[in-house]
């Protein structure tokens, strides 16, 4: 009874932003009854909070963050020095933790919640290790979670593509999603990670994948079709081929023409030039193509200067990066499926390449006209840890604030990008779209304040007219309130209640039964098909979404 009471809240006088309902800065009262937004309620049975002078919006949604699973933990293991000096003590309420670029599970939940975020999408689940991702999901409080399954280098996927058997491919994707309790399909350097298993490299969409006589283009195409046929809530989420290399924007433009997809951390795929010497930004061209194609969305992958850890399923990329820097490097090839690597990296203002990378993320966000199709991310922790989102918001909203950094970094950022010429300053409404309504819509998960919706929202102590970057950053760094399913979980930037979020996955169905085929293809796994499956009981607060 008492607990239900806590989920009854009246929020008075807040200035509300709810883009999915076309509410743009209106003063409104919100009523939360038993965790859901309602028209009206008995205020005597609720906690009443006056939000005069504060803004209210749906809580944050991170569409791409490597915050849980085998690779992330491989990074934590590799880097005790990332934890040492970044420890957080237990309190009477909260668990302890550590980590700057790779916070531990509980700390991850707390840090997101204090920024007003309550949903994060882990975009790189290796199927065979999905149980590990779920184990960490279970240990990550405060957040709702979803995971995307790595299928771009899955041998069975490639085989079906080679056999031109789309129907079986659909069934295989369906089987894998259901077995691993994941939410959608991710492709990382399709074909390229498989090829690297033979020390071979794939740099274009038309290169041949060794052993199978298929191209990345065919793999991507098969996966796009699979996502559509299975009616997945999220389209193919892709880390493009040729990522991180000068001149790769051409691969990006070519990939976009293939159909609906979400191109993640587009910053790493918007490079011009032929080498690191004439490296430059082609963000404008990439953004223009995004503007032309309604079925394409991107997220930024914004760089913030400083030390971080890079983690990706693009194993050859990590190997190369470690060869460039001489830093330690861990790798984890997953049989028949995927790869992954980790290496520390420091983005320096004094580096021309890093300065251009920094500018590109902002250019993308400012050149893409429709905020519903470009989302704020740092590809956590690859371009920066997620704790920097408030700073990035401030850079986007205040030209003076970002120009200050521009003035401090290598002149290439001035000379080889369009950032200096960009005067656009995003409005608060646009930020709300980029950080919650937009990514939620693309994931087909709710992030609105409609009547009947679960009350997941964030309140920030900021005036809608605020234009000063410093103040914007400060306000978004510590939410005045974060409310999750009606519970006040953060107050004044401090976590006041620990709750366990949910994990979403999709239930899909297909026409063709490939059970026999699955067993046959499992011959080359070292575990039994039965033990491959993650039972739904394993997942704390699991929510199955039927795509029927």
């Amino acid at each position: 009874m008492q607990y239900i009471m806590m989920k009854n809240v009246v929020l008075r006088n807040g200035i509300v932003y709810d883009p999915l309902n076309n509410v743009n800065g209106e003063r409104k009262d919100l009523f939360i009854h038993e965790g859901r937004l309602v028209e009206k309620m008995d205020e005597r049975k609720a906690k009443v909070i006056d939000l005069k002078g504060k803004v209210v919006m749906p809580s944050g949604v991170d569409i791409h963050s490597h915050f849980a699973g085998g690779k992330v933990n491989m990074g934590r293991l590799l880097r005790p020095e990332d934890s040492m000096g970044h420890e957080v003590s237990k309190t009477g309420l909260l668990r302890s933790g550590s980590g700057f670029s790779l916070p531990t599970t509980h700390l991850t939940g707390y840090l997101y919640a204090r920024m007003g975020y309550t949903l994060a999408n882990e975009p790189a689940v290796p199927p065979m290790k999905s149980r590990h991702t779920h184990e960490e999901f279970n240990e990550t409080p405060m957040l709702d979670k979803s995971g995307l399954l790595l299928l771009g280098n899955n041998h069975q996927v490639i085989e079906y593509v080679a056999e031109e058997d789309q129907e079986s491919l659909n069934s295989w994707i369906s089987y894998m999603l259901n077995a691993t309790k994941t939410y959608g399909v991710k492709a990382v350097n399709p074909g390229g990670v498989f090829a690297w298993g033979w020390n071979k490299y794939i740099n274009s969409l038309d290169d041949e994948v060794p052993c199978y006589n298929v191209t990345p283009k065919e793999i991507i195409s098969g996966l796009i079709q699979g996502c559509a046929t299975l009616r997945l809530p999220h389209p193919l989420h892709i880390h493009l081929n040729n990522l991180g290399n000068p001149g790769n924007y051409e691969t990006t433009l070519e990939s976009m023409r293939m159909g609906p997809m979400h191109i993640t951390h587009a910053q790493f795929s918007s490079y011009g030039g032929d080498s690191w010497k004439d490296f430059c930004s082609e963000a404008e061209k990439v953004a223009k193509e995004v503007n032309r194609r309604a079925e394409i969305t991107v997220d930024m992958g914004q760089v913030v200067f400083g030390e971080t850890t890079t983690i990706t399923a693009d194993a050859p990329f990590e190997y190369h990066l470690s060869q460039l820097t001489g830093m330690k490097w861990s790798n984890a090839d997953v049989e028949n499926e995927s790869g992954g690597g980790v290496t520390p990296y420091t983005y320096r203002k004094s580096s021309g390449v890093n300065a251009v990378q920094w500018a590109i993320g902002l250019e993308l966000a400012l050149h893409v006209k429709d905020p519903w199709r470009v989302y704020l991310t740092t590809d956590h922790p690859n371009a920066a840890p997620f704790i920097y989102y408030p700073r990035i918001i401030a850079w986007l909203m205040d030209k003076r604030y970002r120009d200050k950094v521009l003035g401090e970094c290598h002149r290439w950022a001035l000379e080889r990008t369009t950032l200096p010429s960009l005067d656009r300053e995003l409005s608060l409404e646009e930020i709300v779209v980029m950080t919650r309504a937009g990514p939620a819509k693309r994931l087909d998960l709710r992030a609105s304040l409609s009547i009947g919706d679960e009350a997941n929202l964030a309140v920030y102590d900021i005036s809608p007219e605020e234009t000063e970057g410093e103040k914007i950053e400060e306000a978004f760094s510590s939410a005045a309130y974060t409310i999750k399913n009606g519970d006040i979980v953060v107050k004044d930037g401090r976590v006041v209640r620990e709750i366990n979020g949910r994990t979403f996955w999709v239930k899909t169905r297909t026409e063709k039964d490939i059970k026999e085929d699955i067993l046959e293809r499992f011959r080359y796994y070292t575990i039994e098909p039965e033990n491959y499956i993650v039972e739904s009981a394993y997942i704390r607060n699991g929510v199955e979404l039927d795509t029927k």
């Binding site: 849980a68 085998g70 933990n73 491989m74 934590r76 293991l77 590799l78 880097r79 005790p80 990332d82 934890s83 040492m84 420890e87 957080v88 003590s89 237990k90 668990r95 302890s96 933790g97 550590s98 980590g99 790779l102 531990t104 599970t105 509980h106 065979m128 290790k129 149980r131 590990h132 184990e135 960490e136 240990e139 041998h155 690297w196 298993g197 033979w198 020390n199 052993c211 190997y319 470690s322 330690k328 490097w329 861990s330 790798n331 984890a332 090839d333 997953v334 049989e335 028949n336 980790v342 011959r523 080359y524 796994y525 070292t526 575990i527 039994e528 039965e530 033990n531 039972e535 394993y538």
Partner: protein
């Protein structure tokens, strides 16, 4: 009753194809190795502990839990040691207790595999799952590892003999190299046995690394002839996909974690020429699981001190043997491990003087040493959970029989109940 695809948690290879039949009071096991078969007989062990003990006297469950909680609450620097033949769920509970108490939590890596982990932290570990080796490898190296005695089905199930997706010929498609000072059983079937002098692995690796970088090493190194060293370097460089498995031989010989650091760097360098991976043959069942659970909870893999309210890590400082040897522990909770049997004599003497609570399946020296003994539940037979294979592949431990008592469902449950006592 027959149970298929049962997961075995004796060693790090975690076979998941075991068949267990329960016929009357008898247990029939298929597919498991000798070590695994013995483990499944645990269910009918005559020395099974079925009742809680305080000071050697049978008491009821609540009394035992109260006493255990009292001991741990009163301690200023308790050490929680979680063995590896249990689920990660149990481990997480143990970690939680250590954090709550402000104690230290540690597990088997501190005794055996720690140097492998510390090697990773210095160099990084280019690795893969076992199936990747089975499917792709044409060169398999065992360095200071002897799977025919430590991981009995390693060669037949994963690394040498089985057909792989791209190695249809199995053994015929692979070369086997063993680097070991001894003529081990594995060395006997090797295509090349590099008989390095004891404690000289580091020198041999250094020579190979220098050769890979275009340098010449004058003569013999570490008791290995110049020609053999070049042969080894050539084999490694020119294979299509190589894998080196490392064993405790390397982790426990002179140089300890530096050996692993260097070998991981050697493997890193080999990736300039070909694809090469390195996989530690972690010895105990769920060692990997402990490392994963500990790291995701604290940022550190083992030997974590919570005395200041936040996690700290520094092997040699906060690790079990070092703490006990320096007398920096004033109470212990030992779960699913016969720690006393594996400790040096001076440490055992110190342990005698401090209160110990243990969770044990059957009688053992640790149980005899304990002030409070809580009956253990056999993981993977009487309780479910998660286990990680030595290559970090997570697998489900599945319950198929009831424990012989009703006061607890699993070691995880026991620790949760204990945690609740500590909090009130």
């Amino acid at each position: 009753m027959k149970h298929r695809n049962v997961v075995c948690c004796v060693c790090g290879a975690v076979c998941d194809d075991i068949e267990v039949g329960l016929v009357g009071g008898e247990i029939k096991v298929k597919n498991a190795c000798a070590l695994g078969r013995a483990r499944f007989q645990e269910l009918t062990n005559e020395d099974r502990i079925k009742e809680p003990l305080v000071g050697g006297v049978h008491v009821d469950w609540d009394q035992a839990l109260d006493k255990a909680a009292k001991i741990l609450k009163n301690a200023e620097h308790p050490l929680i040691f979680i063995g590896s033949v249990t689920s990660t769920e149990t481990m997480r509970q143990g970690i939680r207790i250590a954090e709550y108490l402000g104690g230290v939590v540690d597990s088997h890596p501190t005794l055996c595999e720690g140097p492998m982990i510390m090697g990773i932290q210095e160099a990084g570990m280019p690795s893969s799952t076992l199936g990747e080796v089975r499917n792709r490898a044409d060169l398999v190296v065992f360095w200071g590892a002897n799977p025919l005695q430590s991981h009995l089905r390693h060669l037949s199930r994963y690394s040498l003999f089985p057909e792989g997706r791209f190695r249809k010929g199995g053994r015929r498609d692979r070369k086997l190299v063993v680097v070991d000072p001894r003529k081990t059983k594995t060395a006997e079937i090797a295509d090349l046995h590099v008989q390095v002098d004891p404690n000289k692995d580091y020198e041999l690796m250094s020579a190979v690394m220098a050769i890979l970088k275009g340098n010449d090493v004058g003569g013999d190194v570490a008791g290995v002839g110049r020609e053999t060293i070049y042969e080894l370097a050539d084999l490694m460089k020119n294979c299509e996909f190589g894998a080196v498995f490392i064993g405790l031989g390397l982790a426990s010989s002179l140089g300890k974690y530096r050996n692993l650091e260097r070998l991981m760097k050697l493997v890193r360098d080999l990736n300039r020429f070909t694809r090469f991976v390195i996989i530690p043959n972690l010895g105990h069942g769920n060692v990997s699981g402990f490392i994963q659970a500990m790291t995701s909870a604290s940022g550190y893999p083992f030997g974590v001190d919570y005395s200041r309210g936040y996690p700290r890590y520094n092997p040699g400082e906060y690790t079990t043997v070092d703490l006990l040897r320096r007398g920096e522990v004033d109470a212990m909770l030992i779960v699913a491990a016969d720690l006393v049997a594996h400790m040096p004599r001076d440490v055992v003497r110190f342990m005698k003087g401090i209160p110990i609570v243990s969770v044990n399946v059957s009688q053992c020296p640790t149980a005899l040493f304990s002030d409070v003994v809580l009956p253990g539940v056999v993981a993977g037979m009487e309780s479910s959970g998660t286990i990680y294979r030595l290559d970090n592949v997570p697998l489900p431990l599945k319950k198929f029989v009831e424990p012989p008592f009703s006061f607890t469902e699993s070691d995880e449950d026991t620790l949760r109940q204990l945690f609740d006592r500590l909090r009130c």
